[in-house]
């Protein structure tokens, strides 16, 4: 088979490093970029650069946001006695879309998965414990995914939280499919999961 010209080979290689992109998709994307107008390519480059330059982590909940504190943490109308712990910002946004939860969030940045090199120290747990130490927080809802890793992370945090006597700790009910990601659950399922949370 003939080799790809070097600039395309480089582009294929870069696309191939993205999650969920196999060799064939990478080739398709690369050839698509080549066929785009100069203007569209510029827009794409701008978008990529902006996303990296203009996004920060919220100083309070650790979500990915364009300004810190984020739109949730900065909203005085929200219930600041409740904190919902999720794996990543996408999970937080999925819960926000259903518009029934009025408390705060804490974004861990993943779940404990030693095989992927993620131990407890790699998650935003110190930040979480600092927030819990604040007496204002009365309830913590553990809304990590229902995967093995999500469950282990929830139990781990529940154990850490034993020290806070006045804190109620609950786990969202798993009407969620086993092994399911919050991000993909439909809104009705999510609402039920949150409503029927149980003590842990």
């Amino acid at each position: 088979m003939a080799e790809f010209p070097a600039p395309i080979a480089k582009l294929i290689e870069e696309f191939g490093r993205l999650p969920g992109i196999g060799p064939k998709s990478a080739q398709r994307l690369a050839f698509h970029v080549v066929s785009m107008s100069d203007d569209d390519v510029k827009k794409l480059i701008e978008a990529l650069l902006h996303s990296k330059r203009d996004l920060v982590f919220c100083e309070s909940c650790c979500c990915v946001t364009d300004h810190s504190p984020c739109f949730v943490c900065g909203d005085a109308e929200r219930d600041h006695t409740m904190i919902c712990v999720v794996q990543d910002t996408r999970d937080m946004l999925a819960l926000e879309r259903m518009k029934s939860y009025r408390g705060l969030y804490h974004v861990l940045g993943g779940a404990i998965s030693p095989m992927d090199g993620i131990g407890p120290d790699e998650l935003r747990l110190t930040e979480l414990l600092h927030r819990l130490a604040d007496d204002a927080i009365k309830e913590m809802i553990l809304a990590t995914n229902s995967t093995v890793e999500g469950e282990a992370t929830a139990s781990y945090i529940a154990r850490l939280a034993h020290h806070f006597e006045n804190l109620a700790v609950t786990r969202i009910a798993h009407g969620l499919p086993i092994g399911g990601d919050l991000e993909y659950a439909d809104e009705a399922t999510l609402a039920r999961a949150l409503e029927f949370r149980r003590p842990i």
């Binding site: 030693p114 093995v148 469950e151």
Partner: protein, 394 residues
């Protein structure tokens, strides 16, 4: 017409036998069958389609001509993995990217269309043209018992060979077992990495989940082995002398008990061995180290049994597995015999012949004359040569 009659006759005999045990099963005992197999890029076959006969199917040809590949392909549908390969990708023909297989089967659940695509990255499985997310949803549609000379390892080999026998047997009759096994192995990998990271509090939460999956594995294996042992005793003429009683003991790390008791016991064991595990960097105790002790006249068959006795034990286990599948599912599994007839003496051949006459059987042999003449059921004969399979007679 004649072929049909043969099956009906056996079917009625079977009902008479079963009536003594369970009246409600009367109308339920059926024979699992594979009617057609299509394979593409599987080992030496670029493409082949086989229409099987209802009773005995004989595939003959010289060695390395692709006889066994057909049995292996069929076993993939019942076990979910190849019984002869370490990795499923080994079945992909040389230089090809993927294998495609399809089997049309019939049984209690009616006609079922099973399909599988094997790539170097994994498998895609379909039932009645619907893609299934997990292997446990795929298994339990086609029951088969595969028997090859390599099965001698069940007696002679290491604990992993015996665990493989137990795991493959249980996975097809109890798909939730496979789910638990995959879950347990996943947790075990996580735990072993965690041991290297030295995170005791995180270990606790993984131990908890792992003990739940582990306890379910132990319960299922204990029942499976106990029943297999009982069923093999019903065929004690396979093992020649009467005093040579076959006994199979389950070897695991916990005492028998209720599910919660086993869970607790597993957690306690892991707590006790934690220091050692942290030093070694892996989990030294648990159902992943399970084994079974095979005893003949109270002596370990792997050490003291003769080659002939060991072969008889394997036959006895396979026959018991056929019975167990029939008992659990109400269907006789398809028998896949890979060149085993020639290895057995006439008495044991005869025993196998009796079972063959009740099931659909697909057997391989280097020469069709090696099939015993006592095997009088209708047969369909195929010849394999250079990756091509042709019908030689029915």
């Amino acid at each position: 017409m004649f072929a049909k009659l043969g099956v009906e006759e056996n079917f009625i005999q079977e009902i008479v036998y079963v009536t003594k045990i369970n009246l409600s099963a009367l109308s339920l005992i059926k024979i699992m069958k594979v009617n057609r197999l299509d394979v593409q890029n599987v080992r030496s076959y670029s493409f082949t389609q086989v229409e099987f006969g209802d009773n005995l199917n004989i595939l003959y040809g010289r060695n390395a001509q692709g006889k066994t590949s057909i049995l292996e392909a069929l076993a993939l549908f019942s076990y979910g993995r190849s019984p002869r390969a370490h990795f499923d990708r080994e079945v992909i023909s040389w230089g090809q990217e993927e294998s495609r297989l399809r089997a049309l089967c019939s049984g209690l659940q009616g006609t079922i269309d099973l399909a599988m695509k094997v790539t170097s990255k994994g498998k895609l499985v379909m039932v009645n043209r619907v893609t299934k997310k997990s292997l446990s949803e795929f298994l339990g549609h086609f029951y088969a018992v595969y028997f090859s000379p390599d099965d001698l390892q069940i007696v002679k080999g290491g604990p992993e060979d015996r665990r493989k026998f137990i795991n493959l047997g249980l996975s097809q009759i109890q798909p939730s077992f496979l789910q638990d096994l995959q879950l347990y192995n996943h947790l075990l990998n996580q735990r072993n990495r965690l041991l290297k990271m030295r995170q005791p509090l995180a270990l606790d939460v993984f131990d908890e989940q792992m003990s739940q999956a582990g306890a379910r594995l132990i319960m299922a294996r204990r029942q499976f082995i106990a029943r297999l042992c009982e069923l093999s005793a019903q065929h004690d003429d396979i093992i020649s002398e009467k005093q040579d009683q076959l006994k199979i003991d389950y070897v695991t790390c916990t005492e028998d008990g209720k599910l919660e008791e086993i869970e607790q016991s597993l957690q306690d064991s892991w707590h006790q061995t934690r220091e050692k595990d942290l030093q070694k960097g892996f989990t030294t105790i648990g159902p992943h180290r399970d084994d079974m002790n095979i005893l003949l006249a109270n002596q370990r068959a792997d050490r003291f049994g003769s080659q002939g006795q060991q072969r008889s034990i394997v036959l006895s286990l396979k026959v018991a597995l056929v019975d167990l599948i029939r008992e659990k599912t109400g269907e006789y599994p398809v028998l896949l015999l890979d060149d085993v007839l020639s290895e057995l003496d006439p008495i044991r051949q005869e025993h196998l012949v009796q079972i063959v006459s009740r099931t659909q059987t697909i057997l391989t042999t280097t020469h069709p004359d090696q099939v015993p003449s006592t095997l009088s059921v209708p047969r369909k004969v195929f010849e394999t040569a250079h990756g091509i399979l042709s019908v030689k007679g029915a």
